[in-house]
Symmetry: C2
Subunit: 344 residues, 2 copies
């Protein structure tokens, strides 16, 4: 493998001149530039990224970490879409992505700190949003440049998030507009900020419409189809009446669908079902499920843009900035009580 010295020797110049040509320095005569270019071609020279990193003390790579629980929580497509978004900007700005998937928050924290301390990455994108988030605290303490996908409570940080509260509110209003009156809210674990925000939106919509918020209509369970299913079964056993389900995750919505089928409750006539995340398969369930589409790809793009901006212009680095992306309600048959029955 050819080095900068080989190129220098062939071109009859010093290594630093070659380095300048690579860097595109302006104060280099056209002729030597030419010679160097030629020599580089000659030995098919490619700069060694590691050596460059050492000399410049930056790596041009950013870490993206997540723990499996978050992965599950958001469901897979979310995760890979975010990654695609990150990747697209990384490609464009010539950054690399170092990926790490951990089993739990603790492991993720250690991995993040390791990446930073070993100087393997210039900054991090983390996808976490617990109410009391130890990962975020650790990164702040370490003074690591990082961006959160989600919302940080308490500690001010750079973050990109979708507007969960607003989206949840709109979803609730949609159900009300369709004529549903007794809406059950299935929430994910309460220690996730996203759960709080979505619950908040649900409540807010009801309050604004003058509809009482009944605690028995709010349940919180772990993310899984099964949990969604049995949560509704339990409500039914307890004779809690409801005519719609606002599921804070598509998995819950699937569980609700199974619940309806199980008890021969017609959707959307007798039960409206609305999910979150708009998993690619939502249009293909029967009936197709209404769901809140999260701009996951864009979330990834925004996150890395924000990170790189801070890395490249440390002078105007901010402590706190929240980018909030809108969500889109994808209305499908599962909530269209009013519409005429559809023959697809």
């Amino acid at each position: 493998m050819a080095t900068i010295k080989d190129v220098a020797r062939i071109a009859g110049v010093s290594p630093s001149t070659v380095s300048r040509v690579i860097a595109g320095s302006s104060r280099i005569s056209a002729s030597t530039k030419e010679k160097v270019r030629y020599a580089m071609e000659e030995v098919s020279y490619v700069p060694n990224a590691i050596a460059r990193s050492l000399a410049r003390s930056n790596t041009r790579s950013v870490g993206f970490t997540l723990s499996r629980r978050a992965d599950q929580a958001f469901s897979n497509p979310f995760f890979s879409e975010v990654l695609r978004g990150i990747s697209s900007i990384a490609q464009q700005k010539d950054y690399n992505i170092l990926l790490s998937i951990s089993r739990d928050e603790q492991e993720e924290k250690e991995k993040c700190l390791q990446l930073i301390r070993e100087r393997r990455v210039d900054g991090l994108i983390v996808s976490t949003s617990r109410v009391k988030d130890t990962l975020i605290s650790a990164l702040v303490k370490e003074e690591a440049p990082f961006v959160v996908i989600g919302r940080s409570m308490g500690i001010p940080v750079l973050s990109v998030n979708n507007d969960n509260r607003q989206a949840s509110k709109e979803a609730t209003c949609h159900l009300l507009d369709e004529g549903y009156r007794s809406i059950v809210f299935i929430s994910g674990p309460r220690d996730l900020v996203v759960s709080l925000d979505r619950l908040e939106g649900y409540k807010q919509a009801l309050v604004e419409r003058g509809i009482p918020v009944k605690p028995e209509r709010i349940v919180s369970v772990d993310f899984s189809e099964e949990e969604g299913f049995s949560a509704l079964c339990t409500l039914r056993e307890n004779r809690v009446a409801f005519d719609a389900v606002l599921a804070s995750d598509d998995l819950f919505a699937l569980g609700a669908l199974r619940f309806a089928r199980h008890y021969r409750i017609s959707v959307p006539e007798e039960l409206g079902i609305l999910g979150f995340n708009d998993t690619p398969m939502m249009p293909y369930t029967y009936p197709p499920l209404t769901s809140v589409r999260i701009l996951s790809y864009e979330l990834g793009m925004e996150a890395i843009s924000l990170l790189i901006e801070g890395l490249e212009q440390p002078e105007k680095r901010q402590v706190k900035k929240e980018v909030v992306l809108p969500s889109l309600l994808e209305v499908r048959q599962s909530t269209q009580k009013e519409a005429a029955p559809i023959i697809d």
Copy 2:
């Protein structure tokens, strides 16, 4: 940030001694080892991975690249499961993953070559398997250490793959066993090795059972639900009779399900539907779809294991080795013609 020199100074030894302690060299007295450990704690020293990489000329990181088309082809969950598998071993063996998602094969090829030439990674995992694969040829020419997820035709390489031919054959036999006789095969693009292999298995099963292979029952379309749907509509318009669909991707199976619903054809009684990949949502369609489960997580694990093995023991590096993982047929209602109707 503390360096090895700081530690050396505090411990009253030379940098090389510190280096030896880090490396766990045996010929170091217990007492100095102790002193050095203490000094490291003192300044909370963490070795700089970049400097180490430069000195040892290896990075302890591997690249995983894929192009969007492959991503689509395999559908998202496949991709993220593979990544999880790769990540689990990487974590365990203390390797890092450098991820790159490209828009097309050409871009992916360039990115791969760049990662190798810049010496940013020690090796690559690529997920590609075209009939004439330019990426694989390029990597061989570059003499880059790499492992393919999929099957390489022609060029001998290290690869891990699931047994598509066998799985497809078993799936076909399952349909036959359930009493279906006229099976349509919906294939993905013909330039993918996976398409060929699955088609091959289908044919083989029919031949073995003495059932004629009818060309009009074999269609090849791009991966999408819509394409699957319209392929079947076209068949119907052309009065091609069939009582089962072997879909070489779950998306096609979803399309088939919509087709059945559209024409009020009952599944599984009048039409059996069987997909490939066993996307997490398959159990939740109605009726639940039978699908071939691919061990994607394991595929990732095997791939990186194979790669690392070659990296760490160059002496017994092999040119060709194909690891083949079995697939599992997940039988659900969509193919259970014989079973009594189910009230879920």
